[in-house]
Subunit: 342 residues, 2 copies
Amino acid sequence: MTPKPGKVTQREIARIAGVSQTTVSMVLNDRDGSNIRIPDATRERVRRAIEQSTYVADPAARRLAGLDNKILGVFTYESALTPESMDFYGPLLNGIERAAESLGCDLLFFTSSPVEEGRRRLFHRQTRLRLADGCVLLGQQMDGDDLERLVAEDFPFVAVGRRDETDAPVPYVGIDYGALTGALLDRAAELGHERILYMHRDRNSPTARDRLAAVARADGPDVALAVVGDDFAGVPGLVAETGATAVFAEDAFLVEDIALALGDEGAGLSLAALAEVRGHRIGGRALSGFHTPRQQIAAEALALLQELISTAPDERGGIEIQRLLQGEVALGDTLTARGGAR
Amino acid sequence: MTPKPGKVTQREIARIAGVSQTTVSMVLNDRDGSNIRIPDATRERVRRAIEQSTYVADPAARRLAGLDNKILGVFTYESALTPESMDFYGPLLNGIERAAESLGCDLLFFTSSPVEEGRRRLFHRQTRLRLADGCVLLGQQMDGDDLERLVAEDFPFVAVGRRDETDAPVPYVGIDYGALTGALLDRAAELGHERILYMHRDRNSPTARDRLAAVARADGPDVALAVVGDDFAGVPGLVAETGATAVFAEDAFLVEDIALALGDEGAGLSLAALAEVRGHRIGGRALSGFHTPRQQIAAEALALLQELISTAPDERGGIEIQRLLQGEVALGDTLTARGGAR
DNA sequence: CTGAAAGCGCTTACAG
DNA sequence: CTGAAAGCGCTTACAG
């Protein structure tokens, strides 16, 4: 007469072991302080009862009673697991999975969040956000209101990528794109480039602004800016007009499109992406750009998140919540000395 | 005097709206049956109070009170998000994410499960399994005890891939590798191959057995079997010995290794994988093998899981819980008519 | 050393 | 039509 398959509770264990349910809880959680002292004999009895049953603590009840859940939320502003998004999210997710493994945490992906204007909404009527002890946010652009609210509610979270869309200080772990951009410009200058064309998508994200700001304060080469959309027909003209000997673009895909649009006219022109270039080649040559430590970002983000989770809101002041990691310039083969065919 | 940031409860809403907490719950859940009839005015008052607050239902409490959580578990016997595993898991995870999105469910990845003997354990002291309404299991090999226990506990779950390691009937959605193998052998026969070498890893998984069984009952060509490990030095000898004009292997990676080991001696030899071959090429030619509908498997698995979740255990009898989907033979370029160079 | 009690935030019979 | 009460399974003061 099994009471109900698959639903053993502490009360049941207590009955078997002949103790109170409280004691079972104490044993399970290794509570062993000044005023609670459970003799090994009792402890052992409870342990055996648990082992012989299929007892597992109900995580919902634990959570309700105020304990950590060992569940970390993962919120992505776009679908994370599509083949296209894996290029960007893949290394991050991999790093997150590994970090979660070693922290003993499960990962809750908020795939249910309703999509509005092409992006998911974090807060909605049925959000399971609170089931997680904390949350990692991923995405090129984030919603400032979401971030404000998370801060206001003292909910532990960490954004991946630098954030500046709020007044409130948002915890983040990101890459120092400004520094990388500066370094790449210096390199271009060394190679003799005096006029560079920077093509970007005019996106309103902090990292996009970081690149633009770094480009704007370049003291070596003269950098012309151009916004591109989906049409690359005007690219050759732009290059000619500006007299650029090198074209930089916001990301590797953009460089690929630009190279395609340039065709033979691109021969002799240097190319580089102000972003991760791993695995990208242009006409057989390794694209110049950056190497960004994305696995490390993920690990660092989860470490920070854990810190926030295990610290009371009013004591988080001591934690350095905004962290920029340094990437490195990937020289590649497409940024070469000025003086090619054109 | 905000009571505590980020923790608005139904009681709070009730106070504001001047109703009982029960009524708030009723409104939230649209309970509107024979004996409960809440006037629109009241309903509206509650709605407004909710909208003006930042109320979100505590999922832990809902769950404890017996409601569905809209959380689906995802358990993988190996790490799912590594670059290497993405080849296999990627399309499945993508399909799962999409299905979860359209079902309005969140996804709980059990990354915390302790690893024993290279594989994760589903059941452990702190498993958050029960937080999910149901669970999808992924992995080439699964633990029979895990499956038995899930069945015994009436926990809704679906395995991806055919299962046969238990007496109890395990719900699964898989590919009919037996049929595919038969079809590929027929094709080989049509192309004049009379002696085929099938190289496999001697894995003890249902799909591995399905392939072997189909190979064994081939009535056309004569198929020799060989187990390979990490050493492929003996491959050329084996081919010569058996007089095979075609070599089949368990998966695309294995074919690649074999092709490498054969080198020039492989010229004229037909090659095929008894598995998904998308994206695999051998010496520039598209590898022959199968196309398996992995996105569809994921969708079907989640649909079945939803069915199980929303059906009481004693009424699940009517559900067809074991589903094999048909893939298709990918002709490719490496399975050609007999009579090449050798 | 150990148990009875209150409480976490919700849902759902059960009374008005 | 609406509220007071019990209960989901757990944890943690608080009494013995």
